[in-house]
């Protein structure tokens, strides 16, 4: 690891100001992505601004059909939150299957969304429910937030503070694990609310997480696995790598969507 200057921020505002005064600063949340990258000497921020002590960025509140989760909330906290589980079990299940226990006890929802790994799980839930990402500056709708692999609408120096999920009537996340990393080779999040169905796919596309709108249309009139039977996604633009080519991923999108619909609760 290259040497770096460490700072601890106790509020989002303090983090933003430390970030703006650093030469090439980076927020440090759970460190589960950033620290391995630094150890591999692939990233060398001049300053690390640790937000793990910013209490205002932590916590889960469930009210009136929405769940608000602080950016610094760990995957384990989301997975283990009783009230959230009874209102929105699909989100808890998703969080409970990210990485391993060590990753889940350090890694955070804010870090995952800021990083926007094309194979990460949370982006599927955020896009699949149409959640809102709040920062120290503004609120960003999920549909405007994800801009491709590792790219987001966040400006330099912007700090995610919380995520607001509309709680769907029924939802499910199906993750097919990449055999080595156990990230999503393909992951599909399906959410049904009174007025709409949304289907978000992670792991599959070279453009990052995306909505499968054909499936959404079919499912809006017929929310059954059979409604997916006749659909397929094109393998064009699907990721092809050591673990599966585009046609395999396209197949998984279809299979997992049908399974998510069947399992949605």
């Amino acid at each position: 690891m290259h040497s770096t200057n460490y700072h601890a921020a106790t509020t989002a505002a303090e983090a933003a100001s430390l970030l703006s005064s650093a030469e090439d600063g980076a927020l440090l949340a759970g460190g589960q992505t950033l620290l391995p990258t630094m150890k591999a000497r692939l990233a060398a921020p001049s300053d690390l601004i640790d937000i793990s002590r910013a209490e205002e960025l932590r916590g889960i509140s469930v009210t009136d059909g929405t769940a608000i989760i602080g950016a610094m909330t760990t995957h384990a906290e989301v997975a283990g939150h009783a009230e959230l589980r009874s209102a929105f079990p699909a989100l808890c299940d998703l969080a409970g299957r990210i990485g391993d226990p060590a990753v889940r006890h350090r890694g955070t929802i804010g870090g995952s969304l800021a990083n926007n790994d094309p194979a990460a799980c949370y982006p599927a839930a955020v896009l699949g429910t149409g959640a809102t990402i709040s920062t120290n500056k503004r609120d960003i709708a999920a549909d405007d937030y994800f801009e491709g692999m590792f790219a987001t609408a966040l400006d330099a120096g912007e700090v995610i503070t919380s995520i607001t999920f509309p709680i769907p009537d029924a939802a499910n996340y199906q993750k097919f694990a990449q055999p080595a990393s156990r990230f999503a080779l393909v992951g599909v999040f399906v959410a049904k609310s009174a007025d709409r169905v949304r289907v978000a796919v992670t792991g599959a596309s070279e453009e990052g997480v995306f909505r499968w709108t054909n499936a959404e249309t079919s499912l809006s009139s017929d929310f059954t696995a059979d409604a997916i039977g006749g659909l397929s996604v094109s393998s064009q633009g699907m990721i092809s790598d050591l673990h599966g080519d585009g046609s395999y991923r396209a197949n998984l999108v279809q299979v997992l969507t049908a399974r998510a619909v069947a399992a949605a609760s």
Binding site: F176, A180, L242, G244
Partner: protein
């Protein structure tokens, strides 16, 4: 409770391992310690035009930056392969020069070009990044096909066409004639996937030069410290043997990858002398992927012929073996004498011919990895016979059974002479445990759930306990493959066993002590196993090829024999009895049929005080022995794997795995079962998960755990591990060895099961979900 042979006693060494108190090479800290980092080639094949170290040398903490020209200038010799193989035409193998630091050319990504010594690890790494090398990129051959294509780049000048050797074994004409008369011929193209060894502890070295004594000490992660010292002295000219001490302290796994002497240890020793500092280097995981010797990587065409009744009449095999960029220490033997000699499998095959083309590529050197040649052979033989059964519409167990060897000793057409075994007995035991007969009902039940169930077996055999020195010498080995032991009984009756075997996970500190406990009835806690230090143990050939049991323990038995003779003589004298009446049991020495007895420590004390010894007896109790094996040993067994495939995703789940093995005598069943579990896990890894992949330009695409899939507990079922033993007839304890069997027998069982499930035999390892799905859908894909 007995602690002797056959007792499942807990491992003595586990307290320190499980409480974090093991002492590994990286735990060694010297007062004047500096750190090494290597400047490595980012190109798979490149000419090194110039090395500019000026910026790096000016950086904080940098002590020295040394290169290949200086290394060779100081007389450090090239790295060698220690087994000379002769080609068909009688010519010697083409060994290309391998300097610890590349001089003119780099030949794989990771090839070391310079070594940086600095005060801290971070400083050394930062300076290594700042060394500016002008490379001229050359065309790359990163695969067997590329290296053998017309106009392929020439990797070593003295290896035209990138050929290391073109070797053969067996009778070509007779085999062709037998195949010509066969009623059925099974033909297959089989690839054995390339693997990275991944021991938990990465390689590490601490090199300590003492200028006052002109003496070197090397702490290193080695499976065979004496062999390391031998080649470092005799070939690499680091220092003569009496001026070089090699210590391999606790070592966290090797799987073969820590047999070899790598560039880093040589460079650290030399740099320690150049800088007069102790030099430490510890590989990180990326460096391990880039530089630890890989395993397997064969491409084979084979034909197996059968008569009307299904008896094998001939087997012809043509294999291309990828050597990587350089010939590592044992590399030449792996695809020849450790592979082709096992092509008879457990079957009576009258005619066998095998030719092997060794090929250089711009990849990491390839050498022995858990199983070394035998997994490649067993995969080939067991895939062939299974496929033949399917093609001929025969039951795979019946086809195996009519071809099993039943009389011993059995001379195969490919050198090996099997001493013992009950092949059908093992197969039947495994079939009963796997409920082979009930498979049809289970398959139907899976089908009702939309799943595809399959079952597959493998009846592997392998060769361990390498090996009779004269025999391997006649086949080209540069060393003898005996083992040494020394047994010292102290005045208080405790016993030290010094052994040339090295323990890096195998549990020798327990099992070797059990052999002593078995002999004298003393508790294993009073027996200390000393290994891994060339200053303590006189010599040894080390641990690999499951040889520590059959060869290493046999040497201990020989030394114990000599010690027992002396103890009996001494006791007879002290107890005024005849030697014939002396009985040693429960840690006491008694006169049979009397109440005359010596406590164990009284024997030790008498020997060391020397006050009352028989006429002519020397004081003390210390005996040594060298044991040279009479033959290889032949562990064998039957593995049965049952899987269920999800046809929509191609995901395979192993539902049941039965292993029935013949390891001969078992010293500690708990440790043996652990070895089998680990071996099966590695075998499942090869079959379903692991593969080193290169891009065409020689970049390793799978060089981290994000892309290289290691088997995890939830990839594996509970294993049903059974034994059906026939003692080995050629060593004193009747042991055959168990360290590699799991990795050898598992891949064919798994692939036979998956191909059975999906009804498509065209499936290569690793059978990932994507590949299984593609095999299921190959018809549709072809139509697209």
């Amino acid at each position: 409770m007995s602690q002797g042979i056959g007792a499942a006693v807990k491992r003595k060494e586990d307290k320190r391992f499980t409480t974090g108190k093991g002492k590994y090479t990286d735990d060694i800290r010297m007062e004047n310690q500096a750190y090494a980092a290597f400047v490595r080639s980012p190109h798979a094949h490149a000419r090194v035009n110039s090395i500019d170290t000026s910026a790096a040398e000016a950086m904080d903490g940098v002590i020295a930056i040394l290169n290949g020209a200086e290394l060779t200038g100081d007389g450090i010799g090239n790295i060698i392969c220690g087994w000379a193989i002769t080609s068909k035409d009688g010519s010697p193998m083409n060994m290309g020069a391998w300097s610890a630091l590349a001089t003119e050319k780099t030949r794989y990504v990771g090839d070391a070009v310079a070594i940086v010594i600095a005060e801290t690890n971070a400083q050394a790494r930062a300076a290594a990044e700042a060394v500016d090398i002008d490379y001229e990129e050359l065309p790359v051959a990163a695969s067997l096909a590329a290296a053998l294509s017309d106009g392929a780049p020439q990797i070593h000048e003295n290896a035209p066409g990138n050929i290391v050797y073109d070797w053969e074994i067996g009778e070509n004409e007779a085999t062709e004639a037998a195949l010509a008369g066969a009623a059925h011929i099974t033909k297959m193209d089989i690839t054995n996937n390339r693997l990275s060894p991944n021991p938990m502890e990465p390689r590490s070295a601490v090199a300590i030069y003492d200028d006052a004594e002109d003496h070197y000490t090397l702490y290193t992660t080695s499976q065979n410290p004496h062999v390391a010292r031998l080649v470092l002295s005799a070939f690499y000219n680091v220092a003569p043997e009496h001026k070089l001490r090699v210590i391999a302290p606790d070592v966290g796994g090797g799987f073969g990858s820590k047999i070899y002497i790598y560039p880093e240890e040589i460079a650290c020793l030399w740099a320690s002398m150049k800088t007069n500092r102790s030099v430490k280097w510890t590989s990180d995981r990326t460096e391990a992927f880039l530089t630890d010797a890989h395993g397997r990587d064969h491409v084979t065409k084979a034909r197996m012929g059968f008569d009307q009744d299904g008896r094998i009449v001939g087997f012809k095999v043509s294999t291309k073996a990828n050597f990587g960029a350089y010939m590592s220490l044992f590399s030449s033997a792996v695809p020849t004498y450790l592979y082709a000699t096992l092509l008879s499998g457990t079957y009576n095959i009258p005619n066998i011919y095998c030719e092997v083309l060794g090929v250089y590529t711009n990849t990491v050197p390839v050498d022995a990895y858990r199983g070394a040649g035998r997994p490649e052979a067993s995969y080939l033989v067991e895939r062939m016979i299974e496929t033949a059964a399917r093609e001929m519409g025969k039951d795979p167990a019946d086809l195996r059974n009519i071809n099993f060897i039943r009389e011993f000793p059995h001379q195969t057409p490919v050198i090996m002479n099997y001493d013992s075994g009950d092949f059908e007995g093992n197969m039947r035991q495994a079939m009963v445990a796997a409920d082979w007969a009930g498979f049809g009902a289970r398959k139907a039940e899976s089908a009702m759930r939309g799943k595809l169930r399959g079952i597959g077996m493998s009846c592997y055999i392998e060769a361990c306990g390498i090996a009779p020195s004269a025999a391997v010498g006649s086949l080209g080995a540069g060393v003898g493959l005996w083992e040494s032991a020394e047994v010292r009984m102290n005045p208080v009756g405790t016993i030290e066993v010094l052994t040339g075997s090295h323990s890096h996970g195998q549990g020798h500190e327990t099992t070797f002590a059990q052999v002593v406990a078995d002999r004298f009835g003393v508790p294993i806690d009073t027996v200390q196993i000393v290994h891994g230090d060339t200053d303590k143990v006189q010599f040894g050939m080390g641990t690999y090829g499951s040889r520590s049991g059959p060869v290493g323990m046999s040497a201990i038995v020989k030394a114990l024999d000599k010690l027992e003779v002396k103890i009996r003589k001494l006791a007879a004298h002290l107890l005024e009895a005849s030697e014939a009446d002396i009985v040693i049991e429960d840690g006491q020495v008694k006169v049979d049929g009397t109440n005359k007895v010596l406590a164990w420590h009284e024997v030790g004390l008498a020997a060391y005080t020397g006050h009352n010894l028989p006429e002519g007896m020397e004081p003390g109790l210390k005996e040594g022995a060298f044991y040279d094996p009479l033959n290889f040993t032949f562990p064998m067994g039957c593995f049965i794997c049952e899987v269920e495939v999800d046809p929509q995703t191609g995901k395979t789940e192993i539902l049941k795995f039965v292993a029935s093995d013949d390891f001969g005598t078992i010293i500690n069943p708990m440790i043996v079962d652990g070895q089998v579990h680990g071996g099966i896990a590695q075998g499942v890894g090869q079959a379903m998960l692991e593969e080193v992949r290169y891009s065409e330009d020689g970049q390793q695409l799978s060089a981290s755990y994000m892309d290289y899939a290691m088997p995890r507990a939830d990839d594996l079922p509970d294993f049903d591990v059974l034994h059906h033993s026939t003692p080995c007839t050629t060593n004193p304890l009747g042991m055959k060895g168990c360290g590699e069997a799991g990795a050898i027998g598992t891949p064919p069982a798994v692939i036979n099961a998956i191909t059975d499930a999906i009804g498509n035999n065209d499936l290569s390892m690793p059978a990932t979900p994507a590949k299984v799905w593609a095999a299921l859908n190959s018809a549709t894909i072809a139509a697209e």
